[in-house]
Structures are given as structure tokens and as C-alpha cells.
Amino acid sequence: MIEVSNIHKSFGDQHVLKGISTTFTKGETSLIIGSSGSGKTVFLKCLLGLFDPDQGDISYDGRHYSKMGNKEKRELRKEMGMVFQSGALFDSETIENNIMFPLKMFTDQSEEEILDRVNFVLNRVHLENVNKKFPAELSGGMQKRVAIARAIVMNPKYLFCDEPNSGLDPRTAIVIDNLIQEITDEYQIITIINTHDMNSVMEIGEKIIFLKDGLKAWEGSSRTIFKTDNEAVTDFVYSSDLFKKVREVYNKS
């Protein structure tokens, strides 16, 4: 379980996170939503340990981040997998090298075992015959799948995804959402996704946290988000005509 207690983060005069508290549990896909500038990315980077909170604490299965030294923080990060918005694949390396990097860096497995594992995770994300290709030779959706493969290759306890659907067509976006959901269920990990894609909210939002101006404005699930009276949430969710119609249909049914 990840427990977030009252975290604050500022950059100069800008107070980005103003005291967020929540919990994330095992085997659950949690979505952080909110409009641009609401603090989603900063919140995710605090959870990843890329930013140190100015105040408050984050505990990972009872291990308090604020009490950790650099070495312990690095050890903790080995339990994390991250899918970046851009994929963040090493563009001068082949797909195979991209995925095997954490294994070569942090395990003593033989070359053969490493290759087996690489092929296993590539199959898991439904990619074949891409081992020797470079990231630039793959489509956006395939790059995202490689990024997911790299993120899960070390069997992480915590999987973080920053806008995993951005720049993808709706069909590929659904494939990526479902893949993340399947992996979360299969490996019983904690998955936290930063998104503003309402399709993802409907598809895989077991837990949804809505951020507004650096504060947690609402918390619920895909089932409750359409019933809420919270004005900030309804403004965000029903900003498109499509979802206004979805609400009408939902209310009628």
C-alpha cells in the first residue's frame, strides 16, 4: 500500500501541491485526473521520488520516504516501473537493449535468462519480431507497449504511467488501457495512472482522484464519477458534448 499524507510542493513562489492525502492499494488501478496545471505530473513525480515533497510524507508498504537515505531511495526505485508520456525509450539502443537494461544493471542473471525474460515481456505486451529494431522504427502505440514491457521487466510492485494514451488513436488507447489493467490484476501491483482521458476513466478507473489547483477535490471510482454533484468534477467530466450525452443515457438507465 502507498499512503500519501498531506504532501506539499512548491517551485519558487508557485505552490503546486497544497496538502494531498490518499492511499493506493494492491491490485487496484488508480487514476489521477484533472485539467492541465492542476498538479498531476508534480504529484506523480513526488510518488516516484523524482521530486522531494517540501512537507508531508509518502509511505511505501510501511517504508517512509522522508526517512530514507539516497541508497534506500535507489533501492525503493528498483521496485517501481514507470511508463513516461513520451515513452522515454533510449533512442540509440535497440528495443531488446532497452528492455534488458534494468536486468543487466541490477541482476546477475545470465545472458540467456535475460533474453528469455525480454522475450516473455515482449510477448506479454503482444509485440513480436521487434527485438532488433530501434524505437524510431516503431509506431507510437508500439513504443508505448515497449515502455510498458520495460516497466514490468523487473516485476515491479508499483507501476506508474504518465498519460499513457496521449497521441494514440482511440482504438490503440483502449488496447493500452486494457493491457495496463490486465498487468495490474495479473501481478497484483499498485498501478497509478496520470491522465485526462475520459475513456480511460470509464474503462479502467477503479479508483479516481481528481486534482484541482493542487488540492484533492474529489475521490471515487468510474461508477461514482457520473453521479457526483461536485461542481469541479462535473465541469471537467462534462466539458465535452459526448460525455454530456453519456450522462443523460446513464441517468435514464
Binding site: L48, G49, L50, R74, E75, L76, R77, K78, M80, G81, M82, F84, Q85, S86, A88, L89, F90, D91, F101, P102, K104, M105, F106, M154, F160
Partner: protein, 246 residues
């Protein structure tokens, strides 16, 4: 004030760079990659420039030594001293600062703006140690060989210029090369080279690692890195010369 801030941050960066590599095999792989990228791929330009500049130094000296009382072998002597003491270690380092420095800043800077460094951090990698230490080791250990090559080719260029121009005889030139040979001067040149190689690897790495923004900022950081590396090399050259020869 901003300069002091940058100097402090640079030394803090060095603190992270000089740690024991997390995995020796990966460090070794990266080290040999950097030897190829920063060293072997620079040999062509170094050889080309050294040969022709050596020739030009010899011709210029030959043209200015027109007094019959001055022996012709001084052309070879002056060419040798200019190349060993200054041209090879200092000016080759400035040329390498341009070629290699911009490569280091842009490659690390691009990794930063495309979140590849964040990806490494999330995996638990000490990114400064992983990205910068192989570059430092490769330049510090390999550049002395490149500079020795520059010395040899520069002197050879002067010899070749003698054949082409007939300003001096080959015997005179070789006599000048052999005259008053002091091995200490080679050691002095190689000591300077190692210091400059360290600067060539670390200053551009600093500018690349801490870049913020996009491709324009990476370009600006590359320019700044080359300018500052050249300035620091010139300043260090002054103090090292004073300390080692003064």
C-alpha cells in the same frame, strides 16, 4: 552570483560522478563506447589539423628566419617546441572542446528533455555516475594518445613542408628536432592534456545534464558549454604553465 551558483553545482555534480559504478560490466561497456565516440572518432580531424598546422608553423618560421646568422636548424627546433608545448596540448584541446563538448552536451541534454534521464532515475540508476564517469575516464585516459599523435603528425607536417617549399633542408630540420630534447616537456604537455580532457568531459556534461526546456535550449546549452570549456582551458593553461614551467 549565478557564476558562483554554477561552480558550486558543478562540484556537487562531480561528487555524484565519482562514485563506484553500480555495475562494472555496464561501466566497461560504456567506457569502450565512449573511447570510440569521443576518442577514435576524433583522430581524423586531429590528424588532419595537426599535419597542416605543423606545416604552416614550419613555413612561417622559415619565412621569418631570413638572417644568415641564424642557423636553419632553428626552424625545426622552433616548430618542435611550438607543437609540443602549446599547439598539440592546448589548441588541440580547444578544437576537441568544440567537437566533443558539443556532442556531450547535446547527447546528455537530449536525454534530459526526452525524459530518458528520468527513466534511468526511476530505475534506481545513479545517472551522473552512469552517464558522465565513462566519458571522463575515456577522455582522460585516451586524449594523451591523441595529443602524442598530434605532436608526431605536426612535426611530420613541418618536415613535409620543407620538402615542398625548399625553405630548409631535411637535415637542418631533423637537426633542429633533435636539438635540446627535454623529456620533461612531453610530460608537461601530457599533464596539461589530462587536465584539459577532464574539463572537456565534465563542463559539457554539466550543461547537458541540467538543461531545461526543449531542443532550442539544448542547442543553447551546447554553445555555452563549448564557450565555457574553451575559456576554462585557456585560464587553466596559464596557471598550469606558470606552475609547471615557471
Amino acid at each position: 552570483m549565478i557564476y558562483l551558483h554554477n561552480i558550486g553545482k558543478y562540484f556537487l555534480m562531480l561528487g555524484q560522478v565519482f562514485r563506484r559504478p553500480q555495475k562494472k560490466v555496464i561501466f566497461r561497456e560504456n567506457f569502450f563506447k565512449e573511447i570510440e565516440e569521443l576518442g577514435l572518432k576524433s583522430i581524423g580531424i586531429v590528424a588532419f589539423i595537426s599535419f597542416f598546422v605543423g606545416g604552416v608553423v614550419a613555413i612561417q618560421t622559415g619565412l621569418n628566419v631570413d638572417n644568415p646568422w641564424i642557423p636553419k636548424y632553428l626552424i625545426g627546433f622552433a616548430t618542435k617546441r611550438s607543437i609540443i608545448l602549446e599547439f598539440a596540448p592546448t589548441f588541440m584541446s580547444i578544437i576537441l572542446a568544440g567537437k566533443v563538448g558539443s556532442y556531450i552536451t547535446s547527447s546528455i541534454g537530449t536525454m534530459r528533455v526526452t525524459e530518458q534521464i528520468d527513466a534511468l532515475e526511476v530505475m534506481g540508476v545513479n545517472t551522473l555516475n552512469h552517464l558522465v564517469l565513462p566519458k571522463v575516464m575515456a577522455t582522460v585516459l585516451f586524449y594523451p594518445f591523441i595529443i602524442v599523435l598530434a605532436m608526431i603528425l605536426g612535426i611530420f607536417g613541418g618536415w613535409f613542408a620543407g620538402i615542398v617549399t625548399d625553405l630548409y633542408t631535411l637535415d637542418n630540420y631533423i637537426e633542429g628536432i633533435r636539438l635540446d630534447f627535454k623529456p620533461y616537456l612531453i610530460r608537461y604537455a601530457l599533464t596539461k592534456t589530462m587536465v584539459f580532457a577532464f574539463l572537456i568531459a565534465t563542463i559539457p556534461s554539466y550543461y547537458g545534464y541540467y538543461v531545461k526546456g526543449g531542443s532550442i535550449e539544448v542547442g543553447k546549452a551546447s554553445t555555452k558549454a563549448v564557450v565555457w570549456t574553451s575559456i576554462v582551458i585557456i585560464v587553466f593553461n596559464y596557471f598550469l604553465t606558470q606552475m609547471l614551467l615557471g
